[in-house]
């Protein structure tokens, strides 16, 4: 019955190419061919590089001597030969594979042969597609493994860089501290001198027996006030240098003034005038890890101070301001040191970028400032050239207390 043969042909055709995994695809083909054509055995060998590779078999368990069979068939033809007295062997060579079926001798193989012959092109395309997908999967796997290796190396490099950053930052901080100690020494000179003078005066008056109660309290009050001043300087300095991860609430205006106080003596020595351009009257509180904002302010101030090096500028100044806006507040530091060349302005916050001599600059200072402002304080740090020099702006959001 022709309709039946057509139906079998259609069922066999429909079973091809339903998966892009070779084993799955061939399994469906073999199951259908076996059930529909009454074969008792079916198997598939992949023939790549002339080496037969067994993929799978269905039906009776038969050990096909594949190497011996390969000599038996003519390429690209369906070959039918005797398996034993009662069984016929059906060899179907494809571009990259060999399908083997075994039938009882009572089964007419002519129609099966023509059905399978009509499926050759589709089988070849489907097998090739599966092999291509497998090839792609293998390549992807290799690529993934390379990517993982690369990722590992990048991670290692990042860790190494962070370590290096930390080392450089420590070095930078130590250098800054040397400079700050000079500042402290300068700041301490005046109160120490007052304490020394007052103490000497007290001693002299006592020796002359003219130290009355009023003098005594005046002198001791002056000593207490000045020792308090010394103590405050130490607190401020220690706030800057101590490593801590505890957050505390600070008053922004006060913190800016502390930063100015810490660096002001070195500015005075370089004849750089420090001008308070605007100071917000309304208090601004901000919660941060103690010392972080000071680090940023001192780094920017020092950067401005260094910008005056080797430049013959009269009336050197830096101006600072603290100003509230609707959703954030701004701390600005502007100098009149001539500005930053436009071609490098967008690079100044990059790590290891410096225009200073290698003995003086590490390229880590402004990078660290940027990191603190954007990542720790959730704000923005940017620099723009002005008429006279450069203006750094720290834009910090209000915090909901």
């Amino acid at each position: 019955m022709i309709l039946n043969k057509l139906s079998i042909s259609y069922k066999c055709q429909s079973s091809i190419g339903n998966s892009l995994k070779l084993e799955e695809m061939i399994k469906e083909v073999l199951v259908t061919f076996l059930e529909e054509t009454e074969a008792i055995y079916g198997s598939f060998y992949l023939l790549e590089n002339n080496t037969p590779q067994f993929i799978l078999s269905m039906g009776k368990k038969i050990d096909c001597k594949i190497d011996a069979l390969l000599d038996k068939f003519i390429e690209n033809e369906i070959n039918i030969c005797k398996y034993d007295d009662n069984l016929n062997l059906f060899l179907y060579r494809l571009e990259k594979g060999l399908l083997i079926f075994i039938y009882d001798e009572s089964i007419d193989l002519h129609v099966i042969k023509s059905i399978l012959e009509s499926l050759r092109k589709k089988l070849n395309i489907s097998i090739n597609s599966c092999l291509n997908v497998k090839d792609l999967e293998d390549k992807n796997l290799k690529l993934n493994s390379l990517t993982i290796n690369l990722q590992d190396k990048v991670n290692e490099a990042v860790i190494l860089n962070k370590k290096k950053d930390k080392q450089m930052f420590e070095q930078m901080k130590m250098a800054q501290m040397g400079e700050l100690i000079g500042n402290i020494a300068h700041q301490w000179r005046q109160p120490l001198s007052i304490i020394s003078t007052v103490a000497s005066a007290m001693k002299l008056k006592k020796e002359m027996d003219i130290l009355d109660n009023k003098d005594f309290f005046d002198y001791t009050n002056k000593i207490v006030d000045n020792t308090q001043l010394l103590s405050t300087t130490i607190d401020e300095f220690s706030d800057y240098i101590k490593e801590t991860s505890n957050e505390k609430e600070i008053l922004i205006q006060e913190r800016v003034k502390i930063a100015i106080k810490i660096i002001e003596s070195s500015f005075i020595m370089k004849k750089i005038k420090i001008i308070e351009n605007y100071m917000e009257k309304e208090t601004i509180y901000f919660k941060l890890i103690s010392g972080e904002l000071l680090q940023v302010l001192i780094s920017i101030l020092n950067n401005s101070k260094d910008a005056f090096n080797d430049k013959s500028i009269e009336n050197k100044w830096i101006k600072y301001s603290v100003k509230k806006e609707e959703k954030s507040f701004l701390i600005t530091i502007e100098d009149n040191a001539g500005g930053i060349p436009p071609d490098i302005l967008d690079k100044i916050f990059n790590p290891y970028f410096t225009t200073k001599h290698q003995d003086q600059g590490t390229g880590i200072g402004l990078y660290n400032c940027y990191n603190i402002v954007s990542n720790h304080l959730n704000g923005k740090l940017y620099a723009v050239n002005t008429l006279h020099g450069v203006k750094f702006t720290i834009n910090l959001p209000y915090q909901i207390s």
Binding site: N4, E36, E38, K60, I107
Partner: protein, 361 residues
């Protein structure tokens, strides 16, 4: 009943007997060294503790009816002694069975009874086919009763089991046949939409509507939920195979316009709607008996589908007579099954339905 079969010096003793109840079997089974395969009619009361109390080793299966000689029994049991020449495997769960462990795959024949309503039946039979020798014959049938499809129908001394099977290995070739006798009514049609055992459309027409029309034209009756199984048993669906043979599938009910068959059907299959004719069925069984039994046959073993019995009604024993007259020794046993199997090893295995399978030993 004891007979001895001799072939090229090989002797096989198969001792079988019918009992009308468990008690009479227990009284008979006095030799405690012997193991028994027993086929039990579903209305027979069986208590495992009674076997265990008497230390009788049994492996059994429950069927709706038994065949002993040319008679149909709805009560009783048939025992087969497992002599040294026979080997038996009781598979508690066919899903877990590893055929690599099977010691008897080289046997010449296998008689199997299995849970006829297990979803794993087809997989199990394919595995069996694939793992046994080239020329090993398989005959057998599905145990169970239509009234309770979830009933555990296989048992041994440990208890009752579902999804299970019994394999009886013989070192003697069984001649076998499987016949239907259902005649062409309408077709051929192409299965255009299906899902496992759900037949949705035939020739792009709603399968249930087409089936109903064909049946109504033949017998004048309209199929409804209530009369469906009574009428559809006379109108099976035949799937035409490459060799021209037909595999039959019973429509057992319908749902949402789809016909539900007793086993799976493949998309794009060519099918005919068949109809029953009592004489044809009986003649087919007779033909099958002639094919499977010859002058050397000492025992006929029959696995006959329950739908043939319900279709033939009182004429069913005529079918049994037609088989019985072909066995010269008058030794005939059998069971009424829910599905059947007959494979000579020369074609891919197919689960049968509505067939009369006869084995001649």
């Amino acid at each position: 009943m004891l007979f001895e079969y001799k072939e090229k010096g090989f002797i096989m003793n198969i001792n079988f007997k019918y009992f009308n109840n468990q008690e009479s079997f227990i009284n008979y089974a006095t030799n405690k060294e012997v193991k028994y395969l027993i086929f039990v009619a579903s209305s027979t009361n069986i208590l495992l503790e009674n076997f265990n109390k008497e230390n009788i080793k049994i492996y059994g299966a429950i069927f709706s009816h038994l065949i002993y000689k040319n008679k149909l029994y709805e009560k009783g049991l048939i025992s087969i002694e497992i002599s040294e020449e026979l080997n038996l495997s009781f598979i508690k769960n066919t899903r877990d069975y590893n055929f690599d462990d099977c010691k008897y795959s080289q046997s010449k024949s296998i008689i199997t009874v299995f849970d006829g309503f297990s979803e794993n039946t087809e997989n199990f039979l394919i595995n069996l086919f694939e793992n046994i020798d080239f020329n090993t014959n398989i005959i057998g049938g599905g145990a169970g009763v239509l009234e309770d499809k979830t009933k555990k129908v296989l048992f041994n001394n440990e208890g009752f089991f579902s999804d299970s099977a019994i394999l009886l290995f013989l070192n003697k070739k069984i001649k076998s046949s499987s016949k239907y006798g259902w005649e062409y009514l309408s077709g051929p049609y192409i299965v255009t939409s299906n899902e496992k055992n759900l037949l949705k459309t035939i020739d792009y027409i709603d399968a249930l509507e087409l089936y109903k029309d064909v049946v109504k034209e033949d017998c004048g009756l309209t199929l409804t939920k209530d009369n469906f199984s009574d009428i559809s048993k006379n109108y099976p669906i035949g799937i035409i195979k490459y060799t021209g043979d037909e595999i039959l599938r019973d429509p057992i009910c319908f749902e949402n316009g789809n016909l539900i068959l007793i086993a799976e059907i493949r998309a794009n299959s060519i099918v005919n709607i068949l109809k029953g004719n009592k004489n044809n069925l009986i003649n087919a069984a007779s033909e099958g008996a002639k094919e499977a039994l010859d002058e050397n046959s000492n025992l006929a073993i029959v696995f006959n589908c329950i739908t043939r019995k319900t279709f033939l009604e009182e004429d069913f024993e005529k079918e049994l007579d037609s088989i019985y007259k072909e066995i010269k020794t008058n030794n005939m046993i059998g069971v009424i099954t829910v599905c059947e199997i007959a494979n000579k090893g020369n074609k891919y295995i197919n689960l049968l339905n509505k067939a009369c399978v006869i084995g001649g030993i």
